[in-house]
Symmetry: C2
Subunit: 159 residues, 2 copies
DNA sequence: TTAAAACTGGACAACTAATATCCAGGATAT
DNA sequence: ATATCCTGGATATTAGTTGTCCAGTTTTAA
């Protein structure tokens, strides 16, 4: 899994603390964690394409959450960055084995591929069952200063 | 996840069909699926280091399972090829955020990292609960010719 | 004892994906 | 108008995967 997932997760979580209506530009989001702005922006664009963020050009523009935090799961974020493909790459090796046929889809027929897909579904199910709101609630329970700190940092970066 | 996992899975599964005591050389295992022998051998070496296969040099040498198929889980194979690291790379981005401390291990403290680890544990649990014997049993139920085909292919390659 | 079979491990090359930067163009607020 | 900010493409850099090759070692068998 790529680094971009971590950036996207934390950035989206931070955006849950911004007063709705306010947009945060790439520069502020990048400075928050000292990330490279241009590259972070690529990931932000992917999040926009996935319908997780919305963007506004121009002065006072930037990014904001496109939906309520309750309606954004961690799986949504992972999928936006990593794409919809499965982690286990089934190259249908069985096609070259004894009795292999060109007209069979071994991604479906192969028991190993099925087992890997089954495990991956369990992973997806966990991530789908956890929203940004869930994460934020746990953060606030364990680290009560976070909302205040986050908003202050954004205010300072807004300059 | 890398391609080598698929090769390793199918190769280990095929080895469950070999009469114990018999070793299969890299060349035969590679020809089975038309894989590059030298590179497959790298993965076989990793499986040996992980204690999944054992190797024997010299004529009539090669690789065999080091344990019974019931005692080899799919997670064992994945870990042997991919390494023990977690799929979600937590770079402790929080260290650069507001209130970030150098003396805190954010891989433990970060709620996002924890959520990702939790999902990954669900994935690992599924893979750990499925052995080569389980896979073989399902293969034989769905494709009864497989044992015979596999053994015949090995015999032909041994030629 | 010799030769052939086979694994081991390291060095190295090719290819691909992730990471990262830059810029021209378009949209928007003031 | 102008400064701000997003968009998308081109491009470079780096790291990891894929793949090859070879010298060295172990073992079988004649």
């Amino acid at each position: 899994m790529s680094q971009g997932v971590e950036w996207a997760m934390h950035t989206c979580l931070n955006l849950t603390y911004v007063e709705s209506g306010q947009a945060v530009p790439t520069a502020s989001l990048a400075k928050f964690y000292a990330l490279p702005p241009a590259y972070l922006n690529k990931h932000l664009q992917a999040l926009v394409r996935a319908g997780i963020l919305s963007s506004t050009p121009g002065p006072r523009g930037g990014f904001r959450l496109a939906r309520r935090p309750e309606a954004i799961s961690l799986l949504d974020v992972v999928t936006a960055i990593e794409g919809p493909g499965e982690a286990f790459p089934c190259d249908q090796i069985l096609r070259a084995g004894p009795g292999g046929r060109a007209d069979v889809d071994y991604r479906q027929a192969c028991v190993i591929a099925g087992s890997m897909r089954h495990a991956e579904l369990a992973w997806r199910r966990e991530l789908a069952g956890r929203s940004l709101a869930d994460v934020r609630a746990e953060v606030e329970a364990r680290y009560p200063d976070t909302p205040k700190n986050t908003r202050e940092r954004f205010a300072a970066l807004r300059g």
